[in-house]
């Protein structure tokens, strides 16, 4: 008999939580004059973005941001300097980027013109992080939708058909 398996965790976001997060990030965008604010999970998956997308590849940006923070955290850990809610700041002549560890699941990225005082942006990043955490804790995520309601055989067929459709030989 096969061992029972499990997934490694992750997040489930319901519409009311998403709406609250959207409101927080919209307001932050205005206050910080950010070009872009991105909320991603720790595996790099984009949850929400606000600002000018332009030609930015958000999928790649999410993956790279999560990896950037993970690498920084590991550098801190190896150096015995790790602390929770770390912030990684990259200062540029035109733009600054700030990556912040919201909690064990979430990461915030701000891309802000260098003309905006960095201290102010760091304050706002912490503020939005606290607001997001509060929003997520306020609303019980009791989503009870049935997920992939289907018998096993049929589900296999559906998954394989979906894969066949995107695959070119």
């Amino acid at each position: 008999m096969k061992n029972p398996m499990r997934l490694t965790g992750g997040m489930s976001i319901i519409p009311s939580q998403e709406e609250l997060i959207d409101n927080i990030l919209s307001s932050q965008l205005e206050k910080s004059q950010a070009r872009l604010i991105l909320l991603i999970d720790t595996s790099g998956q984009v949850i929400s973005f606000h600002g000018e997308r332009g030609s930015i590849d958000l999928v790649a940006l999410g993956a790279l941001t999560a990896s950037d923070l993970a690498a920084s955290a590991e550098i801190a850990r190896i150096s015995n300097l790790y602390q929770e809610n770390q912030m990684v700041i990259r200062q540029g002549s035109k733009m600054n980027t700030i990556v912040f560890d919201v909690n064990r699941n979430l990461i915030l990225l701000y891309i802000v013109p260098a003309t905006v005082p960095l201290g102010w942006v760091c304050y706002l990043v912490r503020e939005s992080s606290a607001q997001i955490k509060e929003a997520l804790s306020k609303i019980q995520n009791n989503q009870d939708d049935k997920f992939f309601e289907s018998d096993n055989e049929n589900l296999h067929e559906l998954i394989n058909n979906a894969l066949d459709q995107v695959w070119k030989e």
Partner: protein
């Protein structure tokens, strides 16, 4: 895993693990080449000057709706070289499923085993030991003159009952079957956990 109920989108992370030069990046490149561009992201590769994977390769693709949900699959590879152990652990973090890509060459049996054990340790450290996470094994480079038998590879790694596939990733053989298998296993796992 990340579920957005508003968009009815399910995002899953699958990591290709294995020894250096076993064909992890080649698998992802083949997948990238063969998936309809309208359904996939660009391929992101963080490489050294010698064209070896420094941190990871990454791509994402979307599947059409399945029972009302739209799965979005993220594929990562780890760097294979021994000295990138710390980076491998970071990439493995948050994985919903793993593909272990073994090199079929007789000369690489020990490298396969070291990488398998390294993966096992990393998963243990994350409290997701082998046996508790969807896992598929691919025996790549089956076209090599010194390729050892599947049975020997299976025994040397102690793979157990996981799905196994033969592949020549360089020309795409076995790549899709491996992908299909891990995507099925991961989605089934999601279904089971959310029921």
């Amino acid at each position: 895993m990340n579920i957005n109920w508003q968009l009815r989108q399910l995002r899953l992370k699958i990591v290709y693990y294995g020894p250096a030069m076993s064909g992890k990046t080649t698998n992802i490149e083949q997948i990238h080449k063969r998936i309809d561009p309208s359904n996939r992201s660009n391929l992101v590769s963080l490489k050294t000057n010698e064209d070896r994977t420094l941190f990871f390769d990454f791509m994402q693709f979307e599947l059409g709706k399945i029972c009302g949900m739209a799965p979005c699959i993220q594929l990562y590879t780890v760097p294979g070289q021994e000295y990138y152990k710390a980076s491998r652990k970071l990439v493995l973090r948050g994985a919903d499923g793993v593909v272990f890509v073994a090199d079929s060459s007789a000369a690489r049996i020990n490298d396969n085993l070291e990488s398998w054990l390294d993966m096992g340790n990393a998963l243990n450290e994350m409290n997701h030991p082998i046996g508790k996470i969807p896992l598929v094994v691919q025996y790549n480079k089956r076209d090599l003159a010194d390729a050892v038998s599947i049975q020997s590879l299976h025994q040397s790694l102690g793979v157990g009952a996981y799905p196994e596939f033969e592949a020549v990733a360089f020309n795409g053989e076995g790549v899709f079957n491996t992908l299909k298998s891990i995507v099925n296993d991961v989605i089934f796992q999601v279904q089971k956990e959310l029921q």
